[in-house]
Amino acid sequence: MRHQKFKEWIPLLAYDELDEDQKYLLNEHLAVCAECREQLDELKEVQQAAGSVGEPSETLLRQARRELRIGLRHPEPKRTGWFADWNWSWLVPSFRTAVAGTLCLAIGLAAGYFVYRQPSAGEGPIINRPVAGLLPASPGNISVGNIRFIDADASDGNVEFTYEATAPVHLRGSVNDPLIQGVLSEALTDAQNPGVRLRAASLLNTDQLKQPDADVKRALITALKMDENNGVRKQALAALQNFPFDIEIRDALLYVLNNDSNPAMRIAAIDAVRTERYRDPEVLRVLEEKMNTDGNEYIRYRSRAVVQEAKQQ
């Protein structure tokens, strides 16, 4: 067999992709070919240097899940827009600075125009319940952006376009108001600022909440399982304890107990499921598992104590 063919087999040997006959033939060739031996030795060094990739961290996974949820709600993938896909290579390097400068200037002028042509927004309209919707019907106090023309031909007297409108809204009312609950739920799961998410979770963690809505519960469960901020997860867990205990809440708490990297969260989850230890075999099963497997000594002790309490009843 030719030397070149054996060279092609060397990566296959290194990655255990040869059958026994091929291995035998290649090893015979390696015994007499210094070049191939060197190739194999260097490839082993490459394999060692390339190393391995561990499991993704819980924080990264949680961030990815949260961003996915937002991405699914606003399904425009981050890098698939025309800007990212556009081939900019036609811009000769010497013109790039000039073009970039002109673009910045144009954006600045447009931003200045939109900011200063508006009257002072003040605190925005105060909406007292009940209201039909959040957005004012007239565009007087609305900032308009991202206009997309569907029918830009006005020759027939009609045009059609979509745009995004933002307006300052001042909302005041009961935490039991479905609109307020809806806005807080959105803030809890979608706000980029962890401080806003934390405040939203805190506001939903109140015994004044008499009419807990299914969407609020879902938002709290999502925050409990996915939020990267410990404080938000802690508040979400506390808020969920104001809801009637059900399978969804149980599963979320057991998820925390099994997956949250923060021991304080796992302890809080044990405390939250503790009252259900007599009734729910699944709770007992997970606690029995945790009392033997959790990496944290106190959590093992706590789980064991709750299991023993349950068995003594």
Partner: protein, 196 residues
């Protein structure tokens, strides 16, 4: 064993059918079953947490959009990983577009990315540093073509056999072998100065 597998498949089939009807909780459960592996693959391929999150998100958005058309002709996991493989390959293309903005370079074997060969006159004490070597490995991987890099990632980091990789990439096993050979040869040559 087979019974467990059968029950798992049945359970997964129910989940898929529910998700196809628009049941969000079922889709979420499907995501949770596989997303660690997808994120790991994305990170193995991109070697960057932000890029890995982008790839992860695009995989599941494509899955979400295509799920109503899933007809159980293959296992769900196989279908999902095929999507992931395609996203990895197209991710590279988008990165290539971005780099055209700032790079003027010759493209070797279609990789489209720049690679500064490792300087042979690096101080020997630096060569010994693991992080330094990791940077060189990463740069060498980035210099591969998307297909070469993906085959190396799937075989080296993810442990797939070449036959499985061929099925995921929808190409012949011989083609995958060729990609692996070219990838390892290029890595070997580009990292040689680091090892000397």
């Amino acid at each position: 064993m087979f019974r467990e597998q059968y029950e798992m498949d049945l359970d997964e089939r129910e989940l898929i059918l529910e998700a196809q009807k628009g049941e969000g909780a079922a889709f979420e459960e499907l995501v949770y079953r596989y997303d660690r592996k997808i994120l790991k693959l994305a990170f193995s391929y991109t070697k960057d947490e932000e890029d890995a999150k982008d790839v992860y998100q695009e995989v599941f958005i494509r899955v979400f959009r295509a799920l109503p058309g899933f007809r159980f002709d293959s296992r769900f996991s196989t279908w999902l990983y095929r999507i992931a493989v395609n996203v990895c390959l197209s991710y590279k293309s988008r990165a290539q577009n971005r780099e055209h903005e700032s790079l003027d370079m010759d493209d070797e074997q279609g990789s489209g990315r720049s690679f500064d060969p490792v300087s042979p006159d690096l101080p020997s004490d630096q060569k010994a540093l693991g992080s330094e070597i990791s940077q060189h490995v990463r740069a060498a991987l980035e210099a591969l073509s998307p297909q070469q890099r993906l085959v190396f990632t799937l075989r080296h980091y993810e442990g797939y056999k070449l036959k499985e990789i061929a099925a995921l990439m929808n190409c012949a096993e011989g083609t995958v072998k060729k990609y692996l050979f070219t990838a390892t040869e290029r890595l070997r040559h580009q990292l040689r100065p680091v090892f000397q």
